[in-house]
């Protein structure tokens, strides 16, 4: 099954290769990986999309958690979460098909990022399903190039107020004493 795992990691040299190396070295599947800064400049967020049975996913999460530079591991698949992906696609558009293509794209909420004599570049951000559907439709015309940003995700906003919210920094799952 597909799992989206969100990591908070130290913004250190080489962290990205530690994470991707875990997947390549142990033969785990990695569908997409994105990384970017957070509100705290010393912390980056990574979003991984991976596929595996429960046992493999369990191993992946534990092994990620074992990496010293990984501050926090959250499996968003188990939670109410929001997923977004950005895509740019360059579609062949000769004079006869132009308006039809633009109409289709519009129906998905995609916008025109650039237009040339024989092609149009659309951009769309949406859920992975929307992006997938959009690309399928565009594929009926001729896609010249496509660039996808990979999935980013986070837990949705809480629907209920929690008693006395404190603003504590993220810590690891295991809260036992340090030895």
């Amino acid at each position: 099954m597909k799992h989206t795992i969100s990591l908070l990691v130290e913004n250190h040299y080489g962290v990205m290769s530690r994470i991707s190396g875990l997947f390549s070295g142990r033969g785990y599947n990695l569908d997409s990986i994105t990384v970017g800064p957070t509100q705290d400049p010393s912390v980056s967020r990574m979003t991984l999309v991976t596929i595996g049975d429960d046992q493999v996913i369990d191993q992946i999460k534990k092994r990620l958690d074992n990496i010293v530079d990984v501050i926090n591991v959250t499996d968003l698949t188990e939670k109410h979460s929001l997923y977004r992906e950005l895509v740019m696609v360059k579609v062949q558009a000769k004079s006869g098909t132009r308006s039809e293509i633009i109409q289709m794209a519009d129906a998905f909420g995609a916008t025109v990022a650039d237009m040339g004599a024989e092609s149009i570049v659309f951009q769309l951000s949406g859920t992975p399903d929307t992006v997938e559907g959009f690309l399928q439709v565009m594929d009926e015309f001729t896609i010249e190039e496509c660039a996808r940003g990979g999935v980013i995700a986070m837990e949705g906003a809480k629907k209920h107020r929690e008693p006395s919210q404190t603003n504590t920094p993220p810590t690891k799952r295991t809260t036992d004493t340090v030895i």
């Binding site: 130290e10 074992n66 920094p169």
Partner: protein, 573 residues
């Protein structure tokens, strides 16, 4: 203070007394600081692999963090086998490598290698120091991470200009690493649940491993075994926690496990596994492993839970700490029929040393070692020698057993023995070696001679890469492809037996030892074993090689064929 001086200050703050190392251009500044330092002894090995294994042997036998320094490029790449060996067996090391100056990184500078990239997957954690101001914190963190949780090797790659850069002399007293909080204690409910399962079981069994040594759990575990009367089996790495002589200790499980241990696992209804990771050489076919048992799994590494064997009660914590909480919850079990059964298995098929008419028996040699050196630290190489050592040496004490279990590194035993000897000057240290493996780090004879380390190397010379030959005999129809260590160009391809045309000695280990200034002894008859060992015992200022001409085609039994269940043992040719 420059960077090199700060590192040395840090080493002293961490109570390091010994460094194994090999210099080169990129580490000249730190070797310069170590020059004439009375507090730190530097052992110059003859190869960086030897340095890391020596630091590893020092660490395993003393419980302290081992330290090594190597240069950039080839120094670092030579260190990799040592790092991978230590990483697999959870040995705490801090290894400092030199790197080319920061402004030359990425330009294919002389002796540049991506050390952090190369060592990332064979260390617990590693660093490339990019700022002089980070240096103190990095060294402090490295010692903390190496020695806590599930220990492991840490590599610190230090560009040469950081060694020489002047800056503050602050060495931090504490660490704070947001992403590193190994859980030590285990959860109370799970410990309670484990205690209940253990008490209800009719055929309970303890299965212990390397984590018991690391956490210092031998005392509390011995008390638990005395109190409950539950029998114990061990992994390769768990030997030495229980005295071999105890009737309730059934020996090692797995591919070359004892009949009693493998049968006990198979028939148990409760397996309490402590400080083990259920390695495939221990479990055999996992679907046939402990098929009737509920499994309680105690280990500090959460990723070992449910990896190979499902744990009904997983307890993530340090073995000692968890056992101390378990102890008061356990009582004497009434296990009459079960104990009868396990002692029956023990009597039915004890380990029998392979016998030979015209050659020495490896088992007999190790049996005599028990007489002459009952309290030695034993290291091994890899292969049949390693398995025979595990079968026939009578381990009694924790941290006296140094063997490359996870990686299976030939060439580990001799440098590890030197490191252990340097860390334990009052003990005798013996490397039980194969004639193939010993040649993989033979250059360390120079290190041993010059450090006056009286390491004894017992070479079980069978003329073969014996363990591989055994597999070829059993599974490849005796096609001894590239396993005969005496094979010359003109030898027939299909030779399966040494004969008159074979070179007598390649090398002549006696003269080889002597050429380094060590003592060499060769024995080929049973009555020579004892005098040779006694002679070696009397030599306390230099190493001794005892070359034992053993049966070329002796095999290690029992053996579980690869892919079979551990109860499906083969006992003879």
């Amino acid at each position: 203070m420059n960077g090199a001086e700060l590192i040395v200050k840090g080493l002293k703050a961490e109570e390091v007394d010994t460094i194994f190392g090999y210099p080169g251009g990129a580490v000249i500044p730190i070797f310069d600081v170590l020059y004439e330092d009375p507090e730190l002894q530097v052992i110059l090995t003859r190869h960086e692999q030897g340095a890391i294994h020596a630091a590893d042997g020092y660490a395993r036998s003393t419980g302290k963090v081992g330290v090594a320094i190597v240069t950039s490029g080839p120094g670092a790449t030579n260190a990799t086998t040592g790092l991978a060996t230590a990483n697999f067996d959870s040995v705490p090391l801090v290894v400092i490598s030199g790197q080319v100056p920061r402004n030359m990184i990425g330009y294919d500078a002389f002796q540049e290698a991506d050390t952090a990239g190369i060592t990332r997957s064979i260390t617990k954690h590693n660093y490339l120091v990019t700022e002089r101001t980070d240096l103190g914190r990095v060294v402090k963190e490295a010692f903390h991470i190496a020695g806590t949780g599930k220990p492991g090797p840490i590599m610190i790659d230090v560009p040469k200009d950081i060694f020489t850069a002047e800056d503050g002399d602050d060495y931090p007293e504490s660490v704070h690493i947001r992403g590193y909080h190994p859980s030590k204690h285990g959860q109370a409910e799970q410990i309670q649940e484990a205690a209940e399962l253990i008490s209800q079981a009719k055929r309970p069994l303890f299965y212990i491993g390397g984590g018991m040594h690391i956490s210092g759990a031998a005392d509390v575990f011995n008390r638990i075994v005395d109190k409950t009367g539950i029998p114990t089996v061990s992994s390769l790495m768990g030997l030495g926690i229980l005295d071999h002589a105890r009737t309730d200790f059934l020996g090692m499980i797995g591919m070359h496990g004892t009949f009693a241990a493998n049968m006990a696992v198979t028939e148990s209804d409760l397996l309490c596994a402590i400080g083990v990771r259920f390695d495939d050489r221990a479990t055999g076919d996992t679907s046939k492993f402990a098929p009737n048992a509920q499994v309680v799994h105690i280990d500090i590494d959460p990723s070992t839970m449910d990896r190979n064997i499902h744990a009904h009660v997983p307890i993530v914590g340090d073995a000692r700490s968890v056992l101390e909480k378990l102890e008061p919850l356990l009582t004497k079990a009434s296990l009459g029929p079960w104990l009868q059964q396990v002692t029956g298995w023990k009597k039915e098929r004890p380990l029998v040393p392979p016998q030979s008419n015209s050659y020495l028996s490896p088992g007999d040699i190790i049996a005599e070692l028990n007489e002459v050196f009952p309290d030695a630290i034993i290291s091994t190489e890899v292969g049949q020698n390693q398995m025979w050592a595990s079968h026939y040496y009578h381990f009694k004490q924790p941290r006296t057993w140094l063997t490359s279990g996870g990686l299976g590194t030939m060439g580990y035993g001799f440098p590890a023995a030197i490191g252990a000897q340097i860390g334990n000057p009052d003990k005798r240290v013996i490397d039980i070696a194969g004639d193939g493996s010993i040649q993989m780090n033979i250059q360390e004879l120079a290190t041993a001679v010059l450090s006056k380390a009286p390491v004894i190397v017992v070479i079980l010379n069978n003329g073969y890469l014996g363990m591989v030959r055994q597999w070829q005999q059993m599974f490849q129809d005796s096609r001894y492809s590239s396993t005969c260590l005496k094979k010359k160009g003109e030898c027939p391809e299909d030779c399966t037996e040494p004969g008159d045309g074979c070179p007598e000695y390649t090398p002549d280990f006696v003269r080889l030892a002597e050429s380094f200034g060590a003592v060499g002894i060769r024995i080929s008859k049973p009555e020579q074993i004892r005098p040779a060992l006694e002679q070696a015992k009397g030599i306390t200022d230099k190493p001794t090689f005892i070359e034992c001409i053993v049966e070329p085609e002796a095999n290690v039994y029992p053996m579980v064929p690869p892919g079979a269940g551990i109860n499906e043992m083969v006992f003879e040719d």
